[in-house]
Symmetry: C2
Subunit: 234 residues, 2 copies
């Protein structure tokens, strides 16, 4: 078996949101797909440990905001690498409440739809929710939808631990030989891997900078963890 | 509700195959996605009327061949717009039999995986099969996976009638005003829509050619139907 084959599957990236009474939450997902045309029904696949999964169970509704291509790791990290158990992800975010009561993210999104859950399937670590579409709208027609391929290869993002495709990047990075600019370092908080050949354009770190040569105030570009939360990949 | 929002969902395009004793079959699918990482499990969503769906029920196995970007409408049409009830889709096709016994298409594909069905969910017109991955391999690392977006916008393909996303293009084309080069014509066999502004590069028809001006021996580029099987879109 060669798990590289799995990375040839094409996905988009979405913020799947829900509510629980007055609380709102959402997480990043790449597994959103239409399952029937008549009636229009979509499926989302969510980890049982995620707070949003719990909210979807409680409220029976979810919304999907379709992320546009022009985003950075911080944007994804806000929804994807932090848990809503610790803070309100919708504070200081431009959103609206949809017809179902679930929040719809309006920053850096191209379209959205909202669903009422009609079926739930247990597939092990994850639940597949089948939702009947209640409403759908374009937010900005000019924006290009972000693909998972673009996120991984251009933005250099990784899968959060609870994603169905989590094991990909980390396992692969471990198998890579160290380049001449030094070894790879992994963030123990979120799983982000610092690659010396890539650097970190957001924090003005040039490609070719070894991890040891990063400034002391450099932080994980995904979750904001300090340098000492990083571990060398063997 | 604006169904344009649905087209912002990103998919790839795949040939989902199975067997039934000595018979082989396969169809085009855009709904293939990983649902868990441990163990690696994938889901495929198939119309109940498709022969391949029947074969998956019978054999409990399926394979997914991941189509590369450099294909034409005839390639997709062979698997996507004709039924295996009438002919053997694997005659004159370069394929191999995988570990599960399902056929794997080797022409114009970049990778594949094979699954044993562990769960089946009825979602109305379609069935979601959950398969545990038995094997996966790269066929050609250099090939770019075809996306549904590329298929629709560059190759100018449409969804087959049994696809979860079928209703998209036809409904939209009907809503479009006729251009100055003439009206749109729909193939009554497969649903392909001839667009005068686009022409048909495969059959050397220049953009700007009205349907009425197509040569008598022109055929539907997807399913091969004659010109008289086309109907003007009102």
């Amino acid at each position: 078996m060669n798990i590289e084959a799995f990375f040839k599957i094409t996905y988009g990236l979405y913020i799947v949101t829900s509510k629980n009474e007055n609380l709102l939450n959402g997480h990043i997902s790449n597994t959103v797909f239409q399952v029937t045309a008549e009636p229009p029904q979509f499926a989302v696949c969510s980890n049982k440990d995620n707070l949003t999964t719990d909210f979807i169970f409680q409220s029976g509704v979810f919304a999907v905001s379709i992320i546009e291509q022009d985003v950075d790791l911080q944007y994804i990290g806000h929804y994807g690498f932090k848990t809503g158990k610790d803070f309100n992800k919708f504070q200081n975010v431009n959103y609206k409440i949809g017809k179902t009561g679930a929040p719809i993210v309006l920053d850096k999104t191209t379209a959205y739809f909202e669903c009422e859950v009609v079926q739930k399937f247990d597939v092990g670590s994850h639940i597949i929710f089948i939702g009947k579409v209640i409403d759908s709208e374009i937010i900005d027609e000019s924006k290009i939808p972000l693909t998972y391929n673009h996120y991984r290869n251009v933005i250099k993002g990784v899968s959060p631990k609870n994603s169905p495709t989590y094991f990909d990047k980390l396992k692969l990075e471990k198998m890579k030989p160290a380049g001449k600019t030094g070894k790879l370092y992994k963030c123990n908080v979120c799983g982000y891997v610092y690659e010396p050949e890539v650097g970190d354009v957001e924090q003005h770190i040039k490609p070719g900078t070894a991890f040891e040569d990063l400034p002391d105030n450099w932080v994980c570009p995904v979750c904001g963890a300090n340098k000492d939360m990083f571990e060398e990949l063997a």
